[in-house]
């Protein structure tokens, strides 16, 4: 598996109707099992790019190759079904994947345990905190059992303490499951903390404006000096890109 390409994007362009170009000549390939962070300021089309990879939208020009099984997606809002318990929400994903009824319950509980939520399995979304809801959403995304996991600013609405924990949780899940993860964020530190590779998108139109690889990814924390150092570098480049729009 390793070394293979999971997602290949070539000369991708996107415009909505007769509007301006949102994405222009985006080229990117993501290796199987790789953790890539897509970083950019508002309006850089990172969510658009993610929707295109997810197959929720179609490119105007260019091509996107994703694994035939498709991709699981996690959004900024947990978007759990409010009438279902945490377990039933995960079971819904299993059901839509075609898992037999008898196997669903056990598998759902196992997935909830993966995100340390076994005790909250019978709770409904409104009884859970924001971080817990996102963990249920993560378990639900894992339940889809797709090789690629797309995440659209999934932790943006959480408080800093919870976000830190979820970073650790996500990293652990990634190492355990070997999923290919594309993580969209506008938070430079988050990108530097999580990614094996950080891809910076410029704004209007969105293009790949820079790439950073991180050699040593284990043991990173949001406050680690190497994360801070990389953040400074990326921020500089990001500001340069933003300034370009002033002229």
């Amino acid at each position: 598996m390793s070394g293979q390409t999971a997602i290949r994007i070539e000369q991708l362009g996107k415009r909505f109707g007769a509007g301006p170009l949102v994405l222009d000549d985006v080229n990117l390939s993501v290796g199987a099992g790789e953790f890539v962070c897509l970083l950019g300021a508002s309006g850089c089309g990172k969510s658009t790019l993610l929707n295109l990879i997810a197959g929720l939208d179609r490119p105007t020009t260019g091509t996107i190759d994703v694994p035939a099984e498709g991709a699981a997606v996690m959004f900024q809002e947990s978007a759990l079904m409010p009438w279902l318990t945490a377990r039933q929400n995960v079971e819904l994903a299993l059901r839509l994947r075609g898992v037999a009824r008898s196997a669903r319950r056990g598998e759902a509980l196992e997935l909830l345990d993966t995100v340390n939520l076994a005790d909250a399995a019978e709770k409904r979304p409104h009884e859970l905190s924001g971080g817990m809801r996102q963990r249920v959403a993560l378990a639900r995304a894992l339940a889809q059992d797709r090789p690629v996991l797309l995440m659209d600013e999934p932790f943006a609405a959480l408080d800093a303490i919870t976000r830190d924990l979820l970073h650790e949780e996500l990293e652990r899940v990634w190492r355990r499951t070997g999923r290919t993860i594309v993580f969209v964020t506008h938070n430079v530190r988050e990108a530097a903390r999580l990614g094996q590779r950080v891809v910076l998108l410029s704004s209007r139109p969105g293009r790949v404006a820079g790439e950073w690889r991180i050699a040593e990814t284990s043991g990173r924390r949001i406050e680690s000096p190497e994360v801070a150092a990389l953040s400074i570098e990326i921020t500089e480049q990001l500001r340069k890109e933003i300034r370009r729009n002033a002229a």
């Binding site: 099992g33 959004f75 009438w83 839509l96 994947r97 905190s129 889809q144 652990r172 990634w174 355990r176």
Partner: protein, 331 residues
Amino acid sequence: MPHDENSTAGRVATQERIETLEADTEIPAPDLDTRPPSSGATRQANDDLRSLEAGLDRLQTDPEHAPRAWQRFTTSVLPPILFVLALIAAWQLYVVIAQPRPDIVPGPLDVLAAMSQAWESGRLQTAVLTSLERGVVGFLIAVVVGTPLGLLLAEVKPLRRAVGPIISGLQVLPSVAWVPAAILWFGLTDATVYFVVLMGATPSIVNGLIAGVEQVPPQLRRVGTVLGAGRTRLATLVVLPAALPGYVAGLKQGWAFSWRSLMAAEIIAVGGTIGFGLGSMLQQSRELADIGGVLAAVLVILFIGILIELVFFAPLERRMLRRRGLLGGTR
């Protein structure tokens, strides 16, 4: 291999601290999947994370307290009962002080007497049973007709644009207006009554369902699609349950309209093979200039309307809203 492609993709900012690694050394092998972490250090770290998360979860959630029976009684059952008692007391006081003509303003006791008289003769029981049966059956027919119609209109946009305004218009039209036509079409039979009830209740149910479907957050549909639901399963597993609050509100209103339309139909259409309902009883008392009987019938009609709401719709709605966290606390 993908790395070479990456470096050509876009402009790669060259930084001295960037080391390009082979993917093979970086990426965890997928077959680790089911195996628990083996080394003691990782297990330690996992346990740390676990307890940390458990602590934070505990801090960020409050255990929900189910409202106690006594508390519910004092906050939601007692106030209306006290109010009604006060109303009756005021009424009695007025009758005692002002001494109005008893054939125009009877006292509460006169109305009670009229009610027990109707009960003893068996007319009240017959009327209540007849009306309730028709009301419930008519309402159920309206549900069976209105639900697929509402779903169809909610999901097929062009159809909704064409038919929607008419349905909303029908909701404004008092269903009594259908009584003369119904009598001409069906004669003085039960069909007339059911037709009027149907015309009264269906628009509410249809509108409730459409409103419910329209208020389904687009997020949930998107998630359903992402999870792999096709059109049918999206409708049955996501859209319908999400639209339930609007649908139940529509049902509640539909029942109110059913009951009202039924009474109107029973007052106007008397005789033939139409049975003896509460509306008929009301009309009969009017013909006998029996104001006590009229008020007794009005009170019974009101009471049954409230009773159905209290024992059926209110618990249904409360349970549904509480499950979804749409009910603010215990109040």
